[in-house]
């Protein structure tokens, strides 16, 4: 019995389905039960949160968590499916501190809001950037310019006429 | 008896047979003091030129030593083995735009580099480069040197404050804290030397180190005062602000410390002062502990020349050590440095003083 099935046994309500994602047990879970699942996953010994990925499927968002257990030397993949309008999911920062920046990055690039995150701001792009680049409907035609504002913070605008080097 | 550089110039002119003639001309106008002023002026010009050339050479030498340690060649293109590189650097720095930050204190910002440079030059006055090669043999020479070097933190603080930059301010603060905490062990160990000589005059200190024990070991104070020498060396490296104690700049932490905002000629002034200081401090170490210009005299060559060469060899050996150390060790942290200064160096210096007192009173040496 792999970790995903064990999780289903523990929380039958939370796990929608289980499967295998190329050598790794995969469990698709319900969005509402994420915190409960996370607590159990942590208790099962999955102490390393490898990566959080947000994927835009144009009709839905998927958030994928890859866990690893140093004790059991096992992998576990959790997948949460979100609706396309206003995607929101609970933050896992209380369980894994490493989730902090990974969630911020997912918010920044994919635009998934993590409720309960202590500081959910953009991380790679400057504050005020228009759109989330890794969404499929991101407008790549509009040029955006980052300038240093009066107070030293970044200012984003689509008007590049004030820049020095401009053709 | 020729005692200082003034008399040496007069002596040389007399040898050439022109001194009487020149003196006569000035006397006929009744302004023979003008001649004295001119000779002093010539001395200063010679000293200034010497310091400039030394600084240039030192920058070249530093690069070469670093390069040798790091399996490189260093500057090779301008001049033979890159000897003219410092000249090119000077030309480049003069050509640079002189930037004064908009929110800087203009006057102090401009003044600070000069205030840094003047003490660095003044330190040379009682420094005996060789027998009778001294600008002025002050009776309080050593005190003068320590007092003048203690002036430089003021200038650094002015520079750091006037730049209106947080890094500069922190660099200046560090520089002041460091200089104050290291001047004390420096002075205390110097006093231990003075206890032997009974004189603060640098010439007397050097003369006291003449001769040998058993015909082999030179009577340098390093052999009587090994602890004092080590303390003085460490304290003076800290005073010079070189790695491992280069907190005033500490480029990886504070960008460039107190001269972050300086450019062009003003930056060059700091640079000049730094290397002049390096040479001066090395010279003081040589004077106090390594026998100054004392050494074997050669026949047929004027003793002034041999003593100058001996002094320079010793000084460059100390400078080489400083450069060598710089290429080997990392930087100490500022609080560790202060701990080292106050908790280790000062007690050890006092202990050294105490031991010296016993030795002097017992009259062993």
């Amino acid at each position: 019995m792999n970790a995903a099935e064990e999780l289903k046994r523990l929380l039958p309500n939370a796990v929608v389905s289980t499967g295998i994602q190329i050598n790794k047990p995969l469990a698709v879970i319900r969005k509402e039960e994420l915190l409960k699942v996370a607590e159990d996953v942590k208790e099962m010994g999955f102490d390393h949160l490898s990566v959080i990925t947000g994927i835009d499927y144009t009709d839905r968002f998927e958030v994928v968590y890859n866990f690893f257990s140093y004790g059991k030397k096992q992998n576990l993949v959790l997948k949460v499916i979100l609706g396309h309008d206003n995607p929101e999911i609970d933050s896992l920062t209380t369980f894994w501190k490493g989730a902090d920046w990974l969630e911020r990055e997912t918010y920044d690039l994919v635009g998934i809001r993590f409720t309960g995150h202590p500081n959910l701001t953009r991380i790679l792009l400057p504050e005020g950037w228009i759109g989330h680049p890794l969404r499929k409907d991101y407008d790549m035609k509009t040029e955006q310019f980052v300038m240093l504002g009066e107070d030293g913070e970044d200012v984003v605008s689509t008007d590049g006429s004030k820049l020095l080097r401009r053709k | 008896m020729i005692e200082n550089a003034y008399q040496l110039i007069v002596y040389v002119l007399t040898l050439l047979g022109v001194y009487e003639w020149i003196y006569g001309i000035f006397q006929s106008f009744g302004i023979d003091y003008v001649l004295q002023i001119i000779i002093v002026f010539v001395e200063i010009v010679i000293l200034f030129a010497f310091v400039l050339v030394t600084v240039m050479f030192l920058t070249w030498m530093e690069r070469k030593v670093v390069a040798m340690v790091q399996s490189r060649y260093g500057p090779m293109v301008t001049g033979p083995r890159g000897l003219l590189q410092p000249v090119m650097d000077g030309v480049k720095l003069i050509g640079k735009e002189d930037i004064i930050p908009a929110k800087a204190d203009r006057w102090i910002f401009t003044l600070a580099p000069f205030i840094v440079f003047i003490p660095a030059l003044l330190v040379f006055i009682p420094l005996p480069f060789g027998k009778s090669l001294i600008i002025s043999d002050l009776r309080v020479g050593l005190l003068y040197i320590i007092a003048i070097s203690a002036m430089s933190p003021v200038a650094l603080l002015l520079a750091g404050w006037a730049s209106n930059n947080k890094y500069s301010l922190m660099g200046a603060m560090r520089a002041v804290a460091q200089d104050i905490s290291y001047t004390i062990p420096l002075a205390l160990t110097a006093i231990a030397v003075v206890m032997f000589t009974g004189s603060l005059s640098t010439v007397d200190i050097v003369n006291a180190q003449g001769g040998t024990w058993f015909g082999i070991i030179p009577k340098w104070f390093i052999f009587i005062q090994p602890l004092g020498f080590i303390l003085f060396l460490i304290a003076s490296i800290a005073e010079m602000g070189r790695i491992p104690f280069d907190f005033q700049e500490s480029e990886s932490e504070l960008v460039a410390g107190f001269f972050t905002e300086y450019s062009g000629m003003k930056f060059a002034m700091f640079f000049l002062a730094e290397y002049a200081h390096l040479f001066a401090v090395s010279g003081i170490i040589v004077t106090l502990f390594l026998g100054g210009w004392e050494g074997p005299a050669l026949p047929f060559i004027p003793v002034q020349l041999t003593s100058l060469v001996i002094f320079l060899i010793k000084t460059y050996a100390v400078i080489f050590f400083a450069m060598w150390l710089r290429d080997t060790v990392p930087r100490v942290r500022i609080d560790q440095l202060l701990n080292l200064g106050w908790k280790i160096m000062v007690p050890l210096a006092v202990l050294n003083l105490l031991l010296t007192g016993f030795i002097v009173v017992a009259g062993v040496i």
Binding site: - | M68, V69, S71, Y73, D327, T328, V329, I344
Partner: protein, 138 residues
Amino acid sequence: MPWISKNWTMKGIIKGLIVTLKHVFHIGGRPTVTVQYPYERMKLAPRFRGKHAIDEDACIGCGICEVNCPNSTITIVKYNTRWFPQFNLGMCMFCGICVDVCPMNALKMTGNYELADYTRESLVYGPEKLLFKKEANQ
């Protein structure tokens, strides 16, 4: 001061000083390794990926390199009645994919790496600068 009582000999620093001194005097196979670049040059490996070269006889102007270039460096242009690739080296990252995918083995990369220039326009290398004839080269 427990630290100083343990470390008063400064053994580690002296060890370091010895190693650096060995380097100063080149003791024990520690030579100077710098190459004085503009005056002497290092020998490049035969596989070095520098400026491109197009075999005039082999190239058929098919445009497979144009399609496969990740940075759209390549455009196919007309030159002397035939079609050849033109490289905008300002955009090129010298990955060598164009060489790999060429069905006729017409592309190769030379050892020329001194490609700095003053304008972006002069970084566009047309066929007139890149063509070579295999016979002439051998």
